[in-house]
Amino acid sequence: MFYFIVRRFASAILVLFAISVTVFLIFFATPGVDPAARIAGRSASPQILAQVAKEFGLNRPLPIRYLLMMEHLFIKQDLTSYVNIGDRVVPQITQAAPVTLSLVIGAAVIWLIVGVLGGVVAAANQGKFIDPFIMFIGIAAVSVPAYWLGEVMNLLTQSKFHTSIFSWVPPPGYVSFTTSPSQWFLHLLFPWLTLAALYAGIYARVLRAELVNALNEDYIRTARAKGLSERRILFRHALRCSLISIVSLFGLDFGALIGGAALLTEVVFGLPGVGLLTYTSLQNLDLPVIMGCVMYGAFFVVLANAVVDVLYAYLDPRVRLA
C-alpha cells in the first residue's frame, strides 16, 4: 500500500510536469501566433512588446523560455498582467483559491451526504413509493442549471423574502473564514446548496444503480446465507463495494470544480473565485493570468485524482496489485 502511494504521487508529479510543458507550448509555440502580442494584450505599443519579449526571453531557445516562464510562475512569482498593468498573477490566484476551495469543499460535503443517503434509501426501498420519489427529485436537481437555481435562490433570499424569512441572509459576496466564521458560513450557505443540488442528484442516481447491481451479486447471497442482518448486508457489503465507483466519480468532479468549473455558481453569487478569475481573464485575453489559472486548475485535477486513486486502492484491494 505504501509503495502504491509513493508510485501514484510520483506519477502525479510527472503528469504535472507534462501539463506545464503542454500549456507552455500552447501559449508560446503555437505556429503563426506572436506570443509577445498575445501577452501584451490588444493595441500594445512597440515599447511594451519589446519589454515583453525581453521578460519572457522570446528571442532565446524554447527550453530556456520554458524555464524562464516557470521561474516567473513558481520561483519569483512575479508574473505580471499587461492588460491590467501591474497586477501580479500569482497573488490573484492565491487570493481566489480559498474562495473556490470553501465553495467546493462545503458543497462536496453536502452533496456526498445527501447523495449517498438518497441512493441508499432508494435502493433499500426498491419498488416502494419512496424509491421513484427520490429518483425524481434527483433527476429534477440534475436538470436544473446552476445559474437558474442560483438566481432563484437569490431572488428568494435577496429580494422577495429578504425582509421576512430570509432576513438573516447576507448580501452576495465572500467573507473569509479567518475574518468571521459565522459570516463565512452564511455567505456560502446558498452557493453550497446550489452547487450541491446537481451533484447530489447525480450521486444519488448513480449510487442507487450501483447498489441495485451489488444487491444482485452472488456475494450478497452468501452474506445472507451467513445469517447477517439486512442492515449489515446493505451497509457493510453492498454499499462498501458500491462506494468504489462513487469515489472515482467524486475525484473527477471535485478536481474539475476546484480547477474552476464552479464558475456559474461563483458568478451568480458574486464569489471572487478561480472560475471568476479565469472567466474575466479570458474576456480580457489576459494571457499570463489564463496561463496561471490553467496551471492551477491542472494542479488540483491531478492532485484530486492522485488522492482518489489512493482512496480507491484502500477501498478495493484488487487495485493495489495493478
Partner: protein, 339 residues
C-alpha cells in the same frame, strides 16, 4: 459412510414445496410439489438437468429467493420447526448457524473487498459469542481444516488472491464455521476443474464426518451422486420423479428419466460406445403438461401419462411413473438398457 449408521429421524422434512414466479408470459412453475426428508448425518443428493428447479427449491427454503413475483408454498420442517415463511430476522440464526450453504461459483461468492479472515470472523461472531481474537483463531483453524496451506498468513489475504478451488475451500470453511446441523451445497464443484472437484468432494465427506452434519447436495453430475450421496432425489421439471438410496437407484432405477440420466454417463469398460442421450429438451416451466412432465420425451409414453403420476413404491424407493413394476423391470432388463 455405511448405510446402517444413518439415523432416520428426519432433520429436514420438505413437504409439497412449490415455488412459482408470476411473469408476463404466465406463471412459471420452478418447483412443483417437491417432498423429501434428510435424516441425521445423511447425505442427500438432488439431481436433475439445468432448469429442473433444484437450486430454486433449496434457496426458497432459507428465504433466499428474493424475487418479488415469487410465490412459495408447502412446508419445510427443520428440527421439527416450520422455517418456510419466517422473516429475515427469524431466519438469521438458522442461516449460517444451523444451516450452512456452499455455492456454485466460488469466484463470485465472496465479497471482494474484505480478507477471507474478516469474512469468516464476521460469520463466526454473528452466531457464536466469541471475542475477536478467539474468532480469528477459529478462522485460522477452519482454514487449516479445509486444507488451505499456511492458514496463518492466508487468513489476511483477499479472495482475488486465491484460486477457484481454494476459494471454494474458504466458502466451505465459512459454511462449517458455526457447526451447522445441515450443509446445503448447490453444485459445489461445477465451476471447478476435474481434479479439484474430486478434492472438494473428498473434503466435504471428511468434514461431514467430523462435524456430524447432514448434507443436501445439488448436482447434475451422476458421478458426484455416486461419490457422495446416501440417498438420491431425481428431479424433472420441478417435480421429484424418483427417490431412492444411492446404490438402489444406480442398480435398479425405475423411472425412464433416471434410465436416461444413468445411460448418459460414459462407461470406462465399454469401448467405442456412442453415448446415449435423452431426446428432446427439458420442458418449459411456463407450460408444464398437466400429466407427467417427462411424457413428451419418454420412449414408453402411454395414454395414462396425460394424468399426473403420484410418487409410489415400497420402503424408501419411490418413483412417479405409470409403468407397472413388472414393466419397469422388464424394460430395464432388455439388452438395450442393460448396464
Amino acid at each position: 459412510m455405511p448405510e446402517a449408521t444413518i439415523d432416520r429421524t428426519p432433520l429436514l422434512r420438505v413437504r409439497d414445496l412449490k415455488v412459482s414466479f408470476a411473469t408476463r408470459q404466465g406463471v412459471l412453475r420452478a418447483v412443483d410439489g417437491l417432498s423429501f426428508d434428510v435424516g441425521q448425518k445423511e447425505i442427500v443428493g438432488i439431481v436433475g438437468e439445468s432448469g429442473s428447479g433444484k437450486s430454486v427449491a433449496i434457496y426458497s427454503m432459507l428465504g433466499l429467493v428474493r424475487e418479488k413475483n415469487a410465490t412459495i408454498t408447502g412446508s419445510v420442517l427443520f428440527e421439527d420447526r416450520e422455517i418456510l415463511g419466517l422473516s429475515d430476522k427469524e431466519l438469521q440464526p438458522i442461516r449460517g448457524g444451523s444451516i450452512g450453504m456452499i455455492f456454485q461459483d466460488p469466484m463470485t461468492a465472496l465479497t471482494p473487498v474484505y480478507t477471507v479472515g474478516w469474512q469468516l470472523v464476521e460469520q463466526i461472531r454473528q452466531h457464536l459469542h466469541l471475542t475477536k481474537a478467539a474468532a480469528r483463531s477459529r478462522a485460522i483453524e477452519l482454514l487449516g481444516q479445509v486444507g488451505i496451506p499456511d492458514p496463518k498468513s492466508r487468513v489476511d489475504r483477499f479472495p482475488h488472491e486465491f484460486s477457484g478451488g481454494m476459494r471454494q475451500r474458504v466458502v466451505i470453511a465459512m459454511a462449517l464455521s458455526c457447526n451447522p446441523r445441515l450443509l446445503i451445497a448447490d453444485e459445489p464443484t461445477t465451476a471447478l476443474d476435474v481434479t479439484t472437484q474430486a478434492q472438494i468432494l473428498d473434503l466435504m465427506v471428511t468434514l461431514q464426518d467430523t462435524y456430524d452434519s447432514s448434507i443436501v447436495i445439488i448436482t447434475h453430475d451422476m458421478g458426484v451422486i455416486a461419490e457422495m450421496a446416501n440417498r438420491v432425489v431425481v428431479m424433472y421439471a420441478g417435480r421429484p420423479v424418483e427417490i431412492a438410496p444411492e446404490l438402489e437407484l444406480v442398480r435398479h432405477p425405475r423411472h425412464p428419466y433416471t434410465w436416461g440420466l444413468l445411460d448418459a454417463v460414459p462407461r470406462l469398460n465399454v469401448a467405442h460406445e456412442r453415448l446415449r442421450t435423452i431426446r428432446g429438451n427439458a420442458v418449459s416451466p411456463l407450460n408444464l403438461p398437466p400429466g407427467c412432465a417427462f411424457a413428451p420425451r419418454c420412449d414408453y409414453v402411454m395414454q395414462k401419462c396425460a394424468e399426473r403420476p403420484p410418487l409410489r413404491g415400497e420402503n424408501d424407493h419411490v418413483d412417479a411413473c405409470w409403468l407397472s413394476d413388472a414393466q419397469k423391470v422388464t424394460i430395464r432388463r432388455t439388452p438395450e438398457h442393460s448396464t
